[in-house]
């Protein structure tokens, strides 16, 4: 059995429309930025199922969703869960609470609905009535208390003080864990009142159980000569202090009393869990791992209990490699039970890209704007084989996308380096807007985008995170092949189709130009477009070409200089000169090529702008090619300098339109950061 679906309404940030979270058999990770409701989902589960630590959770007034001003108070909280894949033991154990399918062969499911109603105040306190019912829409019978205990989840809170939890003391977690392990009562008891210590031998001691040992030890202490001496002294004073006829005497005992089970608990509470071979006090991280191990004991030990483990932020205090190890281990626990009846279900919350990247995409649920988006197969527009691809390539550098308020997906390093700077220079700082860059390194651009596209948007709603796919058009101007491919005559061009066909396209291939080229562009866009995803395709050819070409070669000089500097850098040319000297030299060289371009254009009757841009772009693709990423670094520097030194420098007007649009789009988050408000209390 596993909890397949959870629906929450009017609880904390989730309003009357509610949220439905689809959970996975085995491991589910709830990811999302702060305040996205991860903890509210976990708390809803704790309310619904109860927890094994027996912590008494009660609803308070601020658990009710606050309706916006002007709207009447929001009404009852409802939290309902649906359990599926019931094993035979579940079906018999919950027989009176099941909901059956109507078709032959349908498997029964278990619905649970918790409602909390505000019932005014009683004795000056808000009174909130709760009920836990079974059946569709909570129409079935109330769940019996004993039955509910079977569903109790194991809960690991975030930012736990693991050290305190593991040390001795009243109600220590360790004592609870040890107490609930089977076999704690095995062994003989020790009858402190009648046992004769002098005849109590080693064999007798061996037979004692834990509690027996404790009581035996206490008795030894109480009868130690030093303690006896103390008692005599006290009594001798007492004697002198009492009136005639009084008979006060004292006794000294180890403070431990109550029933067997109470004394056993007190005994266990004296224990502390430590790591061996630790040289001194351990850090929080190790303690956390130890704590989790401790909880896992409980899970594994109980056959009847519904094995649900709720872990908030397992990454807390734990460094990256250990986080991965932890996730692997949790996954292993799930996998090791195969299809056994009490296969554990683990639900974690995290905002660690580390963890998110390690967890199978199928097991992620993204929480955003009060909605939950499972990224499991079938829930997104991804194809099944895309999951295999993403399992390999969605690494920690890309896992940011699960937490971002805007995502820009680019094909290569140059875009990855340039875009944040360009955005910053047109006052759309990505960091400020919570935008993440995803550099796919040439492959699978659209697959990442489709993570955000819902297969069933009517039911799930649409993700509000704007996702921009930035890609090249890859159509050269007609002069392109002559300049960058050193083609002399059109007769050298390979055919567009058939054997030995050329991959590259030239504007001339598209006739009539407007219609066919647009169609070509639309086709690229359509590969990932819709819902929150938008593709931004270069207006002309590639990033560098378009930068050099757009707006009458507005940035051609900068792009050329950056390329030239990159080439010199890599080939160790002019290394004796300062950057400024090199910079000036590159500028000179740019002047030369503008002139060449003008002449060539005139000669061939080509567009001067196109020829110049081609010549600039040729720096990256012909001869001693400039590294695109190094050139991008230089270009960033050049542009930043210009923006800094020239207040009127209008980068926005110089950039190609598709880049501006893409930047505007990803920073247009439909989900602005909550506005802080500080109120007097």
């Amino acid at each position: 059995m596993y909890l397949a679906e959870l629906t929450i309404t009017n609880f904390r940030s989730f309003g009357p429309d509610g949220i439905t979270v689809k959970l996975r058999e085995g491991l589910t990770a709830l990811v999302g930025e702060n305040d996205s409701g991860k903890s509210a989902v976990i708390d809803a589960l704790r309310f619904l199922l109860g927890t094994t630590d027996q912590e008494w959770l009660r609803f308070s007034d601020d658990d009710f969703h606050k309706a916006p001003a002007g709207v009447s108070e929001s009404s009852d909280i409802t939290i309902s869960g649906t359990f599926k894949k019931l094993a035979i033991g579940d079906k018999s154990g919950f027989a009176e609470y099941l909901t059956y399918g109507l078709r032959q062969g349908d498997e029964p499911v278990l619905h649970l609905t918790l409602t909390a109603k505000r019932m005014g105040t009683r004795a000056g306190r808000p009174y909130i009535a709760t009920s836990l019912r079974s059946g569709k829409n909570g129409e079935g019978p109330n769940l019996d208390h004993n039955c509910r205990l079977l569903l109790a989840a194991t809960y690991l809170r975030p930012l736990r003080d693991a050290e305190r939890e593991l040390s001795s003391g009243r109600n220590s977690r360790l004592s609870m864990v040890l107490n609930s392990l089977g076999g704690v009562e095995v062994g003989d008891l020790f009858d402190a009142a009648s046992a004769d210590l002098s005849s109590f031998g080693a064999d007798d001691i061996k037979k004692l159980g834990l509690l027996g040992l404790g009581d035996f030890f206490n008795k030894l202490i109480e009868s130690h000569s030093h303690i006896k001496k103390g008692k005599l002294k006290v009594n001798s004073h007492l004697e002198g202090l009492q009136l005639h006829g009084d008979s006060l005497t004292s006794s000294i005992s180890v403070s431990q009393n109550g029933s067997d089970s109470q004394r056993l608990r007190q005994l266990l509470e004296k224990l502390t869990l430590n790591l061996n071979n630790a040289p001194g006090r351990m850090g929080l991280g190790s303690n956390n791992i130890l704590f989790i191990a401790c909880e896992l004991i409980l899970q594994a030990d109980d056959q009847d209990n519904f094995p649900l483990l709720l872990i908030e932020e397992p990454e807390a205090h734990v460094h990256a490699q250990r986080q991965l190890r932890l996730i692997q281990y949790l996954q292993k626990i799930v996998d090791s039970r195969g299809d056994k009846a009490n296969k554990p279900q683990i639900i974690i919350t995290t905002h660690s890209p580390n963890l998110a990247s390690e967890i199978d995409l199928n097991n992620l649920v993204i929480l955003r704007s009060g909605k939950a988006f499972s990224t499991a197969d079938g829930e997104t527009e991804l194809e099944s084989n895309d999951y295999k691809f993403l399992a390999r390539f969605l690494d920690v550098t890309k896992a940011n996308l699960f937490f971002a308020r805007g995502v820009m997906i680019v094909e290569g390093d140059a875009e990855n380096i340039l875009m944040p700077t360009l955005a910053k220079c047109i006052r759309k700082d990505f960091t400020e807007h919570g935008v993440s860059m995803v550099n796919v390194g040439g492959v699978g651009l659209r697959r990442y985008a489709k993570i955000f596209m819902r297969n069933n948007p009517d039911q799930d709603g649409i993700q509000s995170t704007p996702v921009a796919c930035v890609t090249d058009l890859d159509v050269m101007p007609n002069c392109g092949p002559y300049i960058v491919k050193n083609m002399v005559d059109e007769s050298d061009w390979p055919p567009t189709e058939g054997k030995g066909a050329r991959k590259w396209r030239v504007k001339r291939d598209f006739e009539p130009k407007d219609k066919e080229l647009n169609k070509y562009k639309e086709n690229i866009i359509s590969k990932a477009n819709g819902q929150c995803v938008k593709s931004f395709v270069a207006d002309e050819w590639t990033l560098e070409f378009d930068l050099a070409f757009a707006n009458d070669n507005a940035l051609a000089e900068e792009v050329y200089v950056a390329a030239q500097l990159a080439i010199w850098d890599e080939n160790d040319n002019f290394s004796e000169k300062t950057l400024e000297e090199k910079f000036e030299k590159a500028k000179m060289s740019y002047v030369a090529i503008t002139e060449e371009a003008r002449i060539l254009a005139e000669d061939k009757n080509w567009s001067t702008n196109e020829v110049l841009a081609c010549k600039v772009y040729a720096m990256y693709v012909t001869g001693t090619k400039a590294s695109k990423s190094i050139a991008a670094q230089y270009l960033c520097g050049i542009i930043l300098d210009k923006v800094k030194s020239d207040k009127c420098y209008d980068l926005r007007a110089k950039l190609p339109g598709y880049l501006v649009d893409a930047i505007d789009f990803v920073t247009s988050s439909l989900n602005p950061a909550p506005e802080g408000e500080i109120r007097g209390s």
Binding site: T99, Y100, P108, E139, N146, C147
Partner: protein, 679 residues
């Protein structure tokens, strides 16, 4: 079904004997030839226990349950204890309620309740909910009349003319077909308008209004088992041990569904049945619906408990001939000495003296029981009859029913769980049970009265509007307060009503009722159900609280008081059905009539000379009166028509001798003043 339960040891038995406060030897090897001990210690064995009246089978069952619950190793598997009444459950609540074991027994994963409750909770209701049908009322009577009222007047009138019973409108399968409808001497065609009208009414009541009959619950339960082949396994897995009490009263429908759920095919649950086939009596007069499936007791699993701890050998001897199962009762009850053993009496009555027999019985009680009044008040004296409801035309068969012996007898407040027909009957029942609980010291006096009144109001509101549909709950009074909290005027009125009827325990005069209280009640019900009941609705009829003015009779609780020599004996009246399972000090069995006079027909058995062949109707009469005759611990009396013993207008001396030699110590002719002429 494999169960791995710890063995039941002598320590367990010693523990349960002490926790239940039983004598140390209650389950010793000597009792019933060790049968009790064997039954108690048996684990994982299918048993049928045939228990005679007063054998203490409920105690045995409770003891066994307590031991099993104490060592119960499972958290998701439990014991299922089913019966027709909640006697076992109440026994557990009473004897073990405060203990850990008692609480465990009464909650998950165990189930203790009625067969209907079980079938509803585990099969029918989950299935109806899964199908999305509403569930508001499960009550055959309400369902039939609701459906009938929904018919077009034309259909209804014609159906009434054609003598069609209301109960034909019930779903016979999951397609909600109403099946064959007898119409006059023929059958109603399924294409006819009246048929479609009835069919629609049935469909609407089930699908839209959630009004269901009890039979339909069994139909749904069977339907779910048909649809989900594995559900039986789940229920058997959940309840590896099944206990059935009062098995003799199972109908065929109950017996077959229980057999289907727990026994049929592989992996049967381990079952233990308790019952007494001699005591099989039914509410449906004239209809033998004894279960054919799964006969009880099965010879190969049979254990007899013939020893009664209720009565002595003299009563055992008188009742034994009536045992259909030919159980030879052994009276091991408290011994009372010769005088009472020979005191069992037969009162002979005629037309004129029928109404005086209670007086004669009372006087006789006062002579047999010479205790002080205070002690006398603690004894239970009863008079019971097979038929207790009066009927048109019954006069000519006097004595036809209990009311012919006592004119003030009110059959509607005699049931253990009375379902009164008017509000004032609810009030009476509330006062009565409140008083009773107060006497036993087991319940808050006003609480039971308040609840009774609240249930009355809720039931009436439900009747007014099916939309008003509270779920069954424990605190009906709280529920009404909650429902009325936004209607402060009626909230106040309700509190006023409760304080008058329940707290102050007042009963209004007819004038007070019609000028004040009836109006208040109408307002409250209107507020709850949004429909205003008519002033003359049957539920609002006034009824005299008879008996308060007259000293000797108290119909309010169906008792009659007989005085003599400065002492008085209080006799409680009731039907035989209503006293099943009870123990009385003395019981007077009244002759009543159904087709023929009962005691007259079984007279051969009464005098210890049973007929060789037993007809079906004899069998029913014998079982019914076997129950009656095994109630008393001390004194058994019969009231028989004098004519039964008369031959040619005079009493047959030989018959008297036969009775006396059989053990009926006294035979008297009663005159119309209640005086006895001892023969």
């Amino acid at each position: 079904m494999e169960v791995n339960l710890p063995k039941i040891t002598d320590d367990d038995i010693a523990w349960v004997v002490s926790i239940l406060g039983l004598p140390d030897d209650a389950f010793s090897t000597e009792k019933d030839g060790g049968a009790r001990e064997r039954i108690l210690k048996s684990v994982g064995e299918t048993l049928d226990v045939s228990a005679c009246p007063g054998s203490g089978k409920t105690t045995l069952l409770v003891a066994k349950l307590a031991i099993l619950a104490r060592n119960w190793p499972y958290r998701r598997k439990g014991m299922c204890v089913l019966s027709h009444t909640n006697v076992a459950k109440e026994e557990i609540e009473k004897r073990l309620g405060g203990t850990e074991v008692g609480q465990a027994l009464l909650s998950y994963p165990h189930y203790i309740g009625t067969i209907h409750g079980f079938v509803n909770e585990f099969l029918a209701l989950p299935w109806l909910r899964s199908k999305g049908f509403p569930i508001k009322v499960i009550d055959s009577e309400i369902a039939y009349s609701w459906r009938w009222d929904k018919l077009y007047p034309w259909t209804r009138e014609n159906a009434e003319k054609a003598r069609v019973s209301k109960s034909v409108i019930k779903a016979t399968n999951s397609q909600l077909s109403i099946g064959q409808v007898p119409w006059g001497k023929g059958v109603l065609g399924i294409e006819t308008k009246p048929y479609l009208n009835m069919s629609n009414s049935c469909r609407e009541s089930i699908q839209k209004f959630g009004i269901h009959t009890h039979d339909e619950m069994f139909m749904w339960a069977n339907d779910l088992i048909d649809c989900s082949s594995t559900i039986k396994q789940h229920l058997r897995d959940r309840f590896p041990l099944v206990f059935l009490d009062e098995v003799q009263d199972n109908s065929e429908a109950q017996s077959s569904i229980l057999h289907r759920i727990f026994m049929e095919g592989d992996g049967a649950s381990c079952r233990m049945r308790f019952g007494d086939s001699d005591q099989a009596i039914f509410d449906h007069a004239g209809k033998v619906n004894r279960a054919k499936t799964d006969k009880f007791p099965l010879d190969e699993a049979k254990y007899d408990l013939p020893n009664s701890h209720r009565f002595g050998q003299s009563i055992a001897h008188l009742a034994s001939p009536l045992s259909i199962g030919k159980m030879s009762l052994a009276g091991q009850g408290p011994k009372f000495g010769e005088s009472k053993d020979t005191a069992h009496a037969i009162f002979l009555v005629d037309e004129a003296s029928t109404g005086a027999v209670l007086k004669a019985y009372g006087q006789y009680l006062l002579s047999v029981f010479d205790e002080e009044q205070a002690l006398l008040d603690q004894l239970t004296f009863t008079a019971v009859g097979g038929v207790h409801r009066d009927k048109e035309g019954a006069e000519k068969y006097r004595p036809h029913n209990v009311s012919h012996y006592c004119a003030e007898y009110d059959p509607d407040i005699t049931n253990k769980d009375p379902k009164p027909k008017t509000f004032l009957q609810y009030v009476k029942a509330g006062h009565r049970s409140g008083g009773q609980f107060a006497l036993e010291g087991t319940g808050g006096e006003s609480f039971t009265a308040v609840e009774r009144i609240a249930i009355g109001i809720i039931n009436f509101s439900k009747e007014m509007s099916p939309q008003f549909n509270p779920r069954p709950r424990k605190r009906n009074h709280r529920f009404i307060l909650e429902s009325l909290k936004d209607d402060s005027a009626n909230y106040e009125k309700y509190l006023k009503l409760v304080s008058y009827f329940a707290v102050d325990r007042k009963f209004p005069s007819e004038a007070d009722w019609s000028t004040t209280w009836r109006g208040i009640l109408i307002d409250i019900v209107t507020s709850l159900s949004s429909i205003t009941p008519r002033n003359d609705h049957a539920f609002l009829h006034y009824q005299q609280q008879a008996g308060l003015a007259e000293n000797h009779k108290n119909t309010q609780s169906n008792t009659q008081v007989v005085e003599g020599g400065g002492r008085k004996a209080t006799i409680r009246l009731g039907s035989i059905h209503s006293v099943k399972g009870e123990t009385h000090t003395a019981t007077l069995v009244l002759d009543t009539y159904n087709i023929s006079h009962h005691l007259k027909m079984i007279f051969p058995w009464i005098k210890g000379k049973p007929k060789k062949t037993v007809s079906d109707s004899d069998e029913k009469r014998l079982k019914l009166h076997y129950v009656a005759m095994t109630r008393p611990s001390h004194l058994l009396c019969l009231a028989i028509k004098k004519s039964t013993l008369e031959k040619d207008g005079t009493i047959n001396k030989k018959a008297i001798d036969e009775l006396k030699s059989h053990g009926w110590g006294k035979v008297a002719v009663v005159d119309k003043a209640g005086n006895c002429e001892w023969l």
